[in-house]
């Protein structure tokens, strides 16, 4: 039962003893008082805008940017309730594409549509499973599983593939040489390679030909103190609420409460990777 021990290792409340109230503090001001602060900032901005000279516009900033390096006090993860994931719905995928500039990729004129569908970078894939004996169909979004022991990191020859202290597995594109070993090592087929020259990139998501990339749990949102990911928001807005995001190390977090209540599994738990993305109903 590798699973239970692993879960215990990393979700033990004692993990947090080295973390005197830090996560609590961040958490408690994220939900209720945040909207209050935003409202206040709205008012403040309105008032100031009336007095600043023409030629000057205020920056609007919603949350304080991170000023100290991330630590292992938190571990970000997702819990996906496959029972709520709807066949044919692609809200999470579309939102991810917009959030992370993936929608800005364009098919080269010479490529067939089929080839392009294969080659273009995606961070989330909708997967449909069918049990051939019972006929039961399950839908789920599959993205980087943010393993505790990521095979992609093990095989990377340059150290570009790495796990951030807060559990996010990602690629440092400045050191990625595009060898794609990580893509072959990933049991989840979660990584993509950028085959084409990119233009019109978003400031927050640089991207260019010759590097590998994958879901980074909306890392820019993490660093600006936002409390969810684009896919989670989109799934909620579509009325499904199939995805929960949160800190796997915080026993009070929403995701931990859900994990405590419902049976959940890791995909390919036989590999003992201790994934940060968990699924229920599979």
């Amino acid at each position: 039962m590798g699973k239970t021990t692993e879960m215990k290792d990393h979700h033990e409340p004692t993990d947090r003893s080295a973390d005197p109230g830090l996560s609590e503090a961040t958490r408690s001001d994220s939900a209720p008082s945040d909207s209050g602060r935003r409202a206040f900032m709205g008012v403040a901005a309105g008032v100031t805008a009336a007095v600043v000279a023409p030629g000057v516009v205020l920056h609007s900033v919603t949350a304080a940017p991170r000023s100290e390096a991330v630590t292992g006090d938190v571990r970000w993860g997702l819990l996906i309730d496959t029972a709520k994931c709807v066949d044919g719905c692609s809200a999470c995928v579309d939102a991810c594409d917009r959030e992370n500039g993936l929608s800005l990729q364009s098919k080269p004129a010479s490529a067939s549509q089929e080839h392009w569908d294969d080659q273009k970078a995606v961070w989330i894939r909708k997967v449909k499973l069918q049990d051939n004996q019972t006929g039961r169909v399950t839908n789920l979004p599959l993205m980087c599983q943010h393993c505790e022991h990521p095979p992609c990191v093990d095989v990377c020859p340059t150290g570009a593939s790495f796990k951030r202290a807060d559990g996010i597995v990602m690629v440092d594109r400045h050191t990625c040489i595009g060898c794609r070993y990580c893509m072959m090592a990933c049991p989840y087929k979660a990584r993509s390679f950028i085959h084409e020259v990119m233009e019109e990139q978003l400031t927050r998501v640089p991207r260019g030909k010759g590097c590998v990339e994958s879901c980074n749990l909306c890392v820019h949102r993490r660093d600006f103190g936002e409390d969810s990911t684009a896919c989670v928001d989109a799934c909620r807005e579509a009325g499904h609420e199939a995805i929960v995001f949160g800190d796997l190390k915080d026993p009070e977090s929403n995701i931990r409460k859900h994990l405590a209540e419902m049976a959940s599994r890791q995909i390919r738990e036989d590999l003992s990777l201790n994934t940060g993305v968990r699924y229920s109903g599979i």
Partner: protein
């Protein structure tokens, strides 16, 4: 003999000219900062100008690792900050890619024969939601807690 003297004289004149040119350059404070950029309306960069001229590459690269590995977004040395403040818009208010030969980073790099690939990936004009947010700390560092508009009418963008 006479020939040598003339040659020496010419060399001396040439040297003097080079020196003079440099002094004039310094006096005129020749700058790559472009009219139509936010920087043009500001006094100073995120570090003293001479430091920026000599060390900006180190500052940015240090920042790169801090941001990508440490998640730090509150630094004045972010690349997004350089672009946001130094970007120039043309008469039609279209921001011009900052690495192009006539633009801020591009002009000096063309002159100094430096080749960058940063803007193969990084947005060469501020683009998309989050661009201002990424540059905010840099603006704060130079004492402007807001973005200064290069445009005269101060219309939001």
């Amino acid at each position: 003999m006479a020939k040598a003297a003339v040659r020496a004289g010419l060399v001396a004149v040439g040297l003097a000219w080079v020196l003079l040119a440099q002094v004039v350059l310094a006096a005129d404070a020749k700058t790559y900062v472009l009219e139509g950029s936010k920087a043009a309306a500001l006094e100073s960069c995120v570090e003293p100008t001479d430091v920026m001229r000599r060390k900006h590459m180190e500052l940015i690269k240090h920042q790169r690792d801090e941001t990508v590995h440490g998640g730090i977004r509150s630094s004045k040395h972010s690349l997004a900050g350089c672009v946001e403040c130094h970007i120039r818009s043309d008469a039609e208010r279209v921001p011009q890619p900052i690495h192009h030969k006539e633009e801020f980073c591009g002009a000096c790099h063309a002159f100094t024969a430096v080749n960058l690939n940063c803007f193969d990936c990084h947005a060469s004009v501020p683009k998309g939601p989050g661009a201002e947010r990424a540059a905010h700390a840099a603006f704060q560092a130079v004492g402007v807690d807001r973005s200064v508009q290069a445009r005269p009418d101060g219309e939001d963008h």
